[in-house]
Symmetry: C2
Subunit: 369 residues, 2 copies
């Protein structure tokens, strides 16, 4: 017994001799309480005597102590870290989303781990693994589409998940539904109202669910307006500037040119704008262009881009909310919330009457504009 005592004391002394070590024990010693009380004070457990709590807080303030979150997470089982996986951080849509996600997460005491997969399943897999190792409390997969095997890797472990558009059903899994149809229909109707009948679409990456949804919404909206979709005017793209430029170049060689083009995202639309500029053609005079996302720079493109707005903030907020509900979940009443994200058309200056329409119109209508 005496041996044991002296032994532990010796070791403790040895490590304590460095004065800058600062842990909960130091605080306990200086405040003359036990470490349990310090812990309770920090976590604001109501049963601690206010008098003592004050003393403890004073010591904490003076030493500028803060708890080690590793140790905290180890024992409590909660890391207070949320994972966020995006497909490409260099697409301006995502930084705006990340910003919102971080703001809301931090507000609720969470840290975030962001990873950009660049559509590479290999990277995706690796980054899921890394997040699981860090014992994240939840993951928001905002890649707008995910491969099934990777998804299983995540779903196996019982970590709360949030997907966009599509995802498996299961406990702790939420799917944010984006109403692409609403905004895209507005866009098509806007074009149709201007007199467009020949409308092309530059789609997103093959296999990306949100890209398919946008295309589907486009085709259906076309039909609603009584316009038959022309397969030759549905062009491949990849949601990048370069993809937009390439698709537009291809379109320019077509024998029958459309008078308007909708793009699966704003980056594509900006690429289209640039190819038009290179070709010496004018937007919207020679071609009307509509984007999707309403990223910040869409306001200052030349001309400013008409586009469909999808709120990054709503998306981020819904994601964090869903994750929190699962992680901190009382598990009872709050089951399976439906999270819906709205989309809306923002009309700027990249859309106008189709070429030739103006001069053929009766003068009164022309004057109206």
């Amino acid at each position: 017994m005496a041996n044991l005592g002296s032994d532990t004391k010796k070791k403790r002394t040895k490590t304590t001799k460095t004065p800058e070590r600062m842990d909960i024990r130091t605080i306990a010693r200086l405040a003359k309480v036990s470490i349990a009380t310090v812990s309770r004070t920090i976590n604001r457990v109501p049963t601690v005597n206010p008098k003592i709590a004050k003393r403890v807080w004073e010591v904490i303030e003076e030493l500028d102590y803060f708890p080690n979150s590793q140790a905290r997470a180890l024992v409590s089982g909660r890391s207070w870290i949320l994972g966020l996986i995006v497909s490409e951080i260099t697409n301006p849509f995502f930084p705006e989303l990340i910003q919102g996600f971080e703001d809301i997460a931090v507000e609720h005491g969470y840290e975030i781990l962001v990873s950009s997969t660049n559509h590479d399943p290999k990277r995706m897999s690796h980054c899921i693994r890394r997040m699981l190792e860090r014992k994240v409390d939840g993951v928001a997969v905002m890649t707008f589409g995910i491969e099934a095997p990777l998804l299983d890797q995540l779903a196996q472990r019982k970590v709360p998940l949030v997907f966009v558009d599509v995802g498996p059903d299961g406990p702790g899994i939420n799917v944010l539904k984006v109403d692409y149809h609403h905004g895209i229909r507005q866009g098509v109707q806007h074009l149709a109202a201007l007199g467009h009948r020949k409308i092309a679409f530059i789609r997103g990456p093959e296999g990306l669910h949100s890209a398919q949804s946008r295309l589907d919404a486009f085709i259906e909206s076309l039909r609603e307006c009584g316009i038959a979709p022309n397969p030759a005017w549905i062009l491949p793209g990849d949601h990048t500037l370069e993809g937009g430029m390439a698709a537009m170049r291809q379109l320019l060689t077509a024998k029958d040119m459309p008078t308007a083009v909708m793009c699966s995202n704003d980056m594509t639309a900006i690429g289209v704008l640039h190819t038009m500029y290179r070709a010496g053609l004018r937007v919207p005079d020679d071609l009307s262009v509509i984007g999707f996302d309403n990223i910040h720079i869409a306001e200052v493109t030349i001309p400013p881009l008409t586009t469909v707005q999808m709120s990054r903030f709503d998306l981020a907020k819904a994601a964090v909310t869903a994750l929190r509900a699962c992680a901190e979940g009382t598990e009872k009443s709050e089951q399976k919330h439906e999270y819906n994200i709205q989309t809306d058309l923002v009309v700027r200056e990249s859309t106008g009457f189709p070429r030739g329409t103006m001069k053929d119109l009766p003068k009164k209508i022309r004057a109206k504009k």
Copy 2:
């Protein structure tokens, strides 16, 4: 004593009865070795028998086990997390930087914690605190300028740091030096060679060190070309689109208009382009514009932007390298590396001859006017 013994046994049994618990102990049991050996196997300690290692690995693979990094960090003292603080993630320059930083960090086994401060000292302070709580192995402060008090908060704790441009001297602190002068001089000389003598500058945020450096480099480069700087042509800005637009609007009201304008960053330049467009003026015919950063979309602005390239990749690589050197540091030979980042002009189409030079070539006509 007997009480204590049976008590612990009971608890152990209780927690172990859940079959899905998976830790190093489970692996040890199934591989019929001690947990120490499992740990050594995972960490590739060379003294473990290859035969045994193979057996351990097989069990690990089969159960798809991975170690808990919290526990790992707790005992080893290393979190393998690097912090990255940027000023505004919505400025496209930073996502490109973050991408590079993440790539290189992950490559070396690190995770990254990104925070965007939006130039708010309050946020900055909060995010430094959060990073310290998470026990990051190092922090890269890529805000291109930092307030002194916040800096102390970081420097007090002995966490390796990397700054850009300016930072305190001390052990474990590295400063990445960006050679703004080189690229900016190229820009000024480019304009001077085209015949410009009246060159304005839209600066970055007041108090941001890199913004001041860019302005200084501009003024000095002007002098080198024998041009006297005109204070009226040095306009305030804030590195945003809106700032660029506002500055340009102000410039348009000047009685004596410059023929060219250099901007402290590309976002500002894009704002300038847009204001010119709104005013019905043409770039580069009516005004030459040069940006700084060479963000990706600078390629597709209308017209494509002449700008000064600063490599995000070099910056990210230097930051991670410096941080790793400090964190894993053998502390001996590799002291105080100098990290220099080069800048270079990229000529595109937003720069041209000053107005009047070309078409009014006969000088007498111009003089008559």
